[in-house]
């Protein structure tokens, strides 16, 4: 407790607060720019932190960047339908349509507030339950992971607007695109068609940038002849009303808890947390058909969950010294470079370090709320910038971002190729979100299933005998039947209406 108070006391002095502010602001900016991601910002900053006097200040700066970058993604997701970070994919589904209706302030406000609430709720779990949660998370073995991912994959179908078949098709295409490269279970190369450059497979960032960003740029170029409808942006409704709070309370808590839990599980990041929370919100909603049309609940679920994964992912980091996400892996590297060995012993040897991480997480969330709400006035002007100026800049950031991932030109080609693919898919009205979700989840599902099968010597029995995996399986099955039944009923009513 002393260590917690002294760490918090240190952060609340001017210089650390300044670092925190700088980190949050830079994080938001980088998060908002498609192509630049939080992990890039943090990787680039780590070497610079050696010039900072104290390693605590270095930690404060890095954690603040982490919080800022996951939050900033909602800006471009809402205004441009381009997720600034992978975590904001689901925010594009409702944020953008709402902004297009002119409710820019409300769309951003909902996202910002939900981000904040998600962050704070996950922080409560982080401080109160860290050791317990970390142990619980180990009960999740290959079968539990696999069925969790399977559940999310099945939900792809229910996510899509319009034709469910096209949604599934997009999901399968995404899964297909994740196959080439290193076989996750044996380390052997597969489906590389003899190209050396395919050996690493297609990385998430270039694929995401291509499908969501380059495709939009292409669409703009091709549609440029037509006059662009200019929407009247209004900043009204930035702050959630009491009625909003009441309506969203359950959704906020549920999505934050889902996000926190997904964050704790090692190896699954913020994007999956937000996918799961969004689909849970949709399936439990009385009005699931409103999701994807600019519905409050969609924005809230996605943003509360993706911010909650940060607090969740910090749990295994501070308690066990193992990373819950890519950014956490970089943070562990940064701790090592500052001569601090992350892990449970840290609470004994340097208790200020884990408590600095924990306190910064909370303070950075408050700062994120303040910075975003104050700057939203200017941020929302982005939507008024003529697209002709915006697109080349965004395209440049995209290509630079793809290249800087591993300094390889191949990633640039991947970005462009998936841009064309995304453009074509959209033209034939195949939705893009299921494509990316299939891409993200397929590799994970495959790796976990194959680990499980190796462990059970080829038997699929544990799938049904392990209680958690059996219940996940039952939920997936139920949701699949439910969505098909819903679709069938809708088409029958429509057919009936047409006949009458």
């Amino acid at each position: 407790m002393d260590a917690f108070l002294s760490a918090t006391g240190h952060i609340l002095t001017p210089i650390p607060l300044l670092w925190c502010f700088l980190g949050v602001t830079l994080g938001i900016i980088v998060g908002a720019i498609p192509g630049l991601s939080g992990s890039m910002l943090i990787t680039m900053t780590v070497p610079l932190t050696f010039f900072m006097g104290s390693s605590y200040d270095a930690l404060i700066l890095l954690i603040a960047m982490y919080v800022g970058s996951i939050s900033g993604g909602l800006i471009s997701a809402t205004l441009l339908r381009m997720p600034g970070t992978p975590a904001a994919i689901m925010t594009t589904l409702d944020g953008y349509p709402m902004a297009q209706r002119g409710q820019v302030g409300r769309a951003l406000g909902l996202g910002i507030t939900a981000s904040f609430v998600g962050g704070v709720i996950s922080w409560v779990f982080l401080i109160a339950l860290s050791p317990t949660l970390a142990v619980w998370a180990t009960y999740f073995g290959p079968w539990e992971y696999f069925t969790l991912v399977l559940m999310a994959l099945v939900l792809i179908a229910s996510l899509t607007q319009g034709s469910m078949i096209k949604g599934l098709l997009a999901g399968f295409l995404g899964m297909l695109a994740s196959m080439p490269g290193v076989d996750p279970s044996t380390g052997m190369l597969r489906l590389t068609f003899g190209f050396n450059s395919w050996a690493g497979g297609f990385n998430l960032l270039p694929v995401l940038l291509g499908v969501f960003v380059v495709s939009q740029v292409l669409k703009y170029i091709i549609d440029a002849e037509r006059p662009v409808t200019r929407i009247a942006a209004s900043n009204k409704g930035m702050f959630m009303t009491l009625a909003d709070w009441k309506r969203q309370a359950t959704n906020l808590i549920r999505s934050s808890v889902i996000g926190t839990w997904i964050g704790i599980l090692p190896g699954i990041g913020a994007s999956i947390g937000s996918i799961c929370a969004y689909t849970a919100a949709k399936n439990m909603s009385k009005t699931p058909e409103k999701f994807g049309t600019g519905f409050d609940d969609g924005i809230v679920a996605s943003e509360a969950a993706n911010n909650a994964t940060i607090g969740g992912a910090l749990v295994p980091l501070v308690t066990m010294g193992i990373p819950g996400s890519v950014i956490d892996a970089i943070l562990i590297g940064a701790l090592l470079m500052h001569n601090l060995q992350p892990g449970p012993l840290l609470f004994v040897t340097d208790p200020e370090v884990p408590y600095t991480i924990i306190s910064t997480h909370l303070i950075a969330n408050f700062m994120m709320l303040a910075v975003m709400l104050v700057s939203v006035k200017w941020i929302s002007k982005l939507i008024l910038v003529p697209t002709a100026y915006l697109m080349p800049v965004i395209l440049m950031f995209c290509l630079v971002g793809a290249y800087s991932l591993q300094n390889q030109p191949f990633d640039v080609w991947v970005t462009l190729a998936f841009g064309v693919l995304g453009f074509v898919l959209e033209k034939i009205k195949v939705p893009l979100a299921p494509f990316v979700i299939g891409f993200i989840l397929a590799g994970l599902a495959e790796a976990e299933l194959r680990s499980g099968l190796m462990a059970s010597a080829g038997s699929i029995e544990p799938l049904f005998t392990r209680p958690i995996s059996a219940s996940f399986l039952a939920v997936s099955l139920f949701m699949l039947v439910w969505s098909f039944w819903g679709e069938w009923r809708r088409s029958r009513t429509q057919a009936g209406g047409a006949a009458a």
């Binding site: 990787t43 780590v46 070497p47 142990v135 998370a137 180990t138 009960y139 999740f140 073995g141 290959p142 996750p184 279970s185 044996t186 380390g187 052997m188 190369l189 050996a199 690493g200 090692p266 190896g267 295994p316 066990m320 010294g321 193992i322 990373p323 892996a329 970089i330 562990i332 590297g333 940064a334 090592l336 470079m337 001569n339 601090l340 060995q341 992350p342 892990g343 449970p344 012993l345 591993q406 300094n407 390889q408 790796a447 194959r450 680990s451 190796m454 462990a455 010597a457």
Partner: protein, 317 residues
Amino acid sequence: MKSILKIAVAATAISAAGLATAADYPEKPIRLIAPFAQGGSTSNAARVMAKAIEDNDLLPVPIIISYVPGAAGTIGARQVKDADPDGYSALIWHVAANGSQAMGNVDFGPDDFELVAGTDRKCYMIVVRETSEYQTLTELMEAAKANPNTIISADNLGGANHIASVLAEDSLPGAAFRHVQFGGTAKTYPALLGSHAEVNASSPSALSSTTTKGLRVLGYMGPERHPDYPDVPTFKELGYDTEFCMYSWWFMPKGTPADRVAVLRDAMVKAMDTDYLHEQTKAQGVEHIIITGDELKTVMEAEKTKISAIGARLRGE
């Protein structure tokens, strides 16, 4: 008398020549490629060594580190392999130098470089859960022999922890673990704690990051006991003739003049004596050693033999 003078003159001439070379080289920064992302243990080793050399003026020029990650280090390594052998390019790599070639993923290996030195020894240890029924290494090995292919070993197939686990079971004829793909420490540690796997081969640096909480170390695969784990017996002590250690290998392009390789090597040997390097290696849980000369050749050959045998077996599977 005359002849003694001649020798003296010759000796002066030789040392003058030596001085001349030392003065010519290095005259510009040396580019060290770390073929991994920043923050990893090999990248850290590179950074720490470069800083120790620079802070103590052991070389007249700085060492500039370029991080070139990807494909187990082969992308960065290839750049150094193809670089001019002028003494201004160097590479730090690890067991993947042998592993990538043994697995058939690349067509070059340690023989295509000049070997400068080996540092940072990390010998693997066999760990189980604290609540595991296996109290000693002997109990575990006998169980693996009595019921082959049932005890689950959490591995990263084709990776160092897999190789170590295979070498461990091979040390008792008839013993076999069931090798299951989990991944690196971030996945194997929770797998052990959550009873999804029974045994894991882990490096001390990975173990110290989890501080062995909830784990029991049964045996150490190094030549002698690890200073941080004085109670843990080595495999050899218990009669299992096996060893598996990883090193950071330092290379320069093939054909780099021997005297230039020696300049870098000497600077590294001196750097090993600095307090800074001592502290850093200790913090990262690796053994603070540098091997050069004949010992270096022997150790590298031994690693190569072991890895290529296992590589052939894995590829045959």
